[in-house]
Symmetry: C2
Subunit: 420 residues, 2 copies
């Protein structure tokens, strides 16, 4: 887990607010859910490995030795499903929300991974397959473009394509998860690895691998043999048609190999790659059954997320240490009148100039050093001599130039300098 | 615990960003710490009751049955102390930070209290008593004023005043906490209640009560008898002198009765009341020993917080349900060309007009109803007939007026309307 000092918070916030701005421009509204959910809400939604990685909260008081009943949020999708089930009358028939918030996983940390990290999700709950799926791809690639990233490849598939293939080869649909889990590792372990894993799981699925990595027209022919396969192809083609022309600086491509690990997807699934990156920086898909698990009636949904922790270092470089949001430091030169410094700072702030007062007792050199180290551009000095003459000294901390100005001109001069 | 739907998030965010803006105008920078801390960091810092209310995280894997080693953040002050100890070389000799973030307490919920709630803290780590204490009071009252609150009463005391009194009456300093805990309940249980509680704790402290509620000149005389009492009075007088004249629309008053529950305060303590409120909406004080517990060397600090969960309902009234950030809804009228709707929406967004596309298949009345319910001011309709004629219909959802405009004028007309 990490602490973020002010310069890092500022850099992260800038990225997050750009992204939120794009989400809002599409009409997505912000949702906030608590960090703690009831354990039963989370359990069984993320697969076996997921269940193991949920942080559980110990029971309180006399029940301390009993099984945990609460847990920390593991992702933002399951809480969304719970919210829609709970507040359906208020969220309406179509609910478009985004959420940018930390989640927690009891993973072995390391390799740039953390046990607390931010997720950044957009989802549309309500509509069946169609425009909503296209918009999900568009809003995410737009957000990436707004961050200055370029050259997107949207890899698109449908769970129905995979299901159609299995069906066309007479493989038990109950084995679908095994195939998905193996296929999902293709990028990591290569074709030979996937083949081995399928073998180990007792699946004679070499033909499947050939199919998804072979010529597309052959694959399309094979998919045409089952209803679900045809439906999958239709979804893929429709999305390429709808979203393809509108993806900024990129293309949408049918990627029959794409599996996505999560078990709750039911229709289209996608991943976004940026030029030169070997792993996806955004992904998502349709999950028509998850919300229904909580609501007790079928509620279709589609959504996606930005891999924001991976994206932030790509697009921003925070300054080191602590930076001050202030533009001016009022130095305290005269032991008898620190109250005057507070008053002068209040005047500057009232004129919308962010201003710090030096809060300790140190000689002026140290005060100037403090301002420089924090990137404050100007120091204002008003010692006993200046007071007598009714003037103030402005020190430019970059050029080290000092200018004396009449007290009454101070605000105008500082404003003038800040605007150039 | 609570979920916040978009309208509520917006209302809360508005308050929080006003407050952060004031904090930044004083040069405080944002800090983010993780939700999870090591349990040993938190334990023993909040008193006996506090220890009981810490949410503990169960051990993972094979260690599941062992004692918890992690816990959820209980406040923002202890994490700050840990950060300063850990990153002292980066935070520098004076570290001014704010943090607005949730904390968790395993309290019995109810009466407007929640187990997850936001705290909103400003702290100055480094300087000894003086300007920093005054600035803490000023930045908090300024933030309250920026939220539109008026008529502040800052009640001020010093732990040294209380210690001085005990010493002057020969009470064992080890009993100080007992006296503080009893005095702190004055607002809740009244003078008789406090007297009873002191009796029960075996403290013959009726005189103490008389003293703190009696004439100030008598109290000052009594305090003058001990060194620590004199130091406490000096702190109080100095702060009234420094901060008093600058508190916007309010006054700073010596309140010898003020005790504050938390055990870690060492010097001045204060509470801010707003006209008509019976409980404090902001509070704070100096805690010179807490940071040192982590850093292994003495590091003075002063800070305070806004009772933001109590303040939000005072200053904002969220709209009901879900509001859309969009200004325009593009209706989908023509089953064959939903892609056109996506394209038109993209054009409007490129012109910085936040735009939704209706993402489901419904007749136009339902689409208009969706926009109205979400407070979207305009709907844009472009059916087959309009397309033929190269026009677009704009519907004002408040007046229900419809205007047909040439396609090329759409953006200009919408911009024009939004600006009036």
């Amino acid at each position: 887990m990490r602490d973020f000092l002010p310069a890092e918070v500022n850099a992260r916030e800038k990225v997050l607010s750009t992204v939120s701005g794009v989400f809002e421009s599409y009409g997505f509204g912000p949702l906030e859910t608590p960090a703690i959910e009831r354990l039963e809400i989370l359990q069984g939604k993320y697969g076996e490995e997921g269940d193991r990685l949920i942080f559980k909260i110990a029971q309180r008081g006399a029940k301390a030795t009993e099984e945990a009943d609460l847990a920390l949020r593991y992702d933002l999708t399951v809480p969304l499903a719970r919210v829609v089930a709970e507040y359906g009358d208020r969220t309406g028939k179509i609910f478009k929300r985004y959420q940018v918030a930390p989640v927690w996983r009891a993973d072995r940390p390391g390799r740039g991974r953390y046990r607390e990290f931010y997720q950044c999700d957009v989802d549309v709950v309500g509509p069946e397959f169609g425009l909503a799926d296209a918009e999900t791809i568009l809003v995410l690639t737009d957000a990436l473009a707004a961050l200055g990233l370029k050259g997107f490849e949207v890899r698109l598939n449908s769970r129905k394509v995979l299901r159609g293939l299995l069906e066309s080869y007479g493989i038990d649909p109950a084995r679908e998860t095994d195939v998905l889990v193996a296929l999902d590792k293709f990028d990591k372990i290569g074709e030979a690895g996937v083949r081995k894993e399928l073998d180990e799981r007792g699946l004679d699925a070499a033909f499947l691998l050939l199919e998804v990595s072979g010529p597309e027209d052959e694959l399309r022919r094979q998919l045409g043999r089952t209803e679900v396969g045809r439906a999958g192809l239709e979804e893929v083609d429709r999305l390429i048609d709808l979203a393809g022309p509108l993806v900024s600086d990129g293309a949408v491509r049918f990627s029959p190999m794409l599996a996505r690990g999560l078990s709750y997807y039911t229709g289209p699934i996608f991943e976004v790659y940026v030029k030169g990156s070997t792993s996806a920086i955004s992904s998502g898909g349709r999950y028509d059954d998850l919300v229904g698990m909580f609501a007790g009636r079928s509620i279709p949904a589609v959504g996606g997320s930005l891999g924001i922790e991976r994206i932030i270092p790509l697009v921003s470089r925070p300054e080191e240490g602590v930076v001050s949001p202030a533009k001016v430091l009022v130095a305290v030169l005269d032991g008898d009148s620190p109250g005057d410094a507070l008053g002068l700072a209040a005047e500057l702030r009232a004129a919308r100039i962010p201003t710090e007062v030096y809060l300790d007792e140190d000689h002026v050199g140290k005060q100037i050093g403090y301002a420089s180290a924090r990137g404050i551009p100007y120091a204002v000095l008003r010692g006993p001599k200046e007071k007598e003459q009714g003037i103030v000294t402005i020190r430019d901390l970059q050029t080290r130039e000092q200018t004396a100005v009449p007290e009454g001109d101070l605000i105008a001069v500082l404003r003038d300098r800040s605007s150039t």
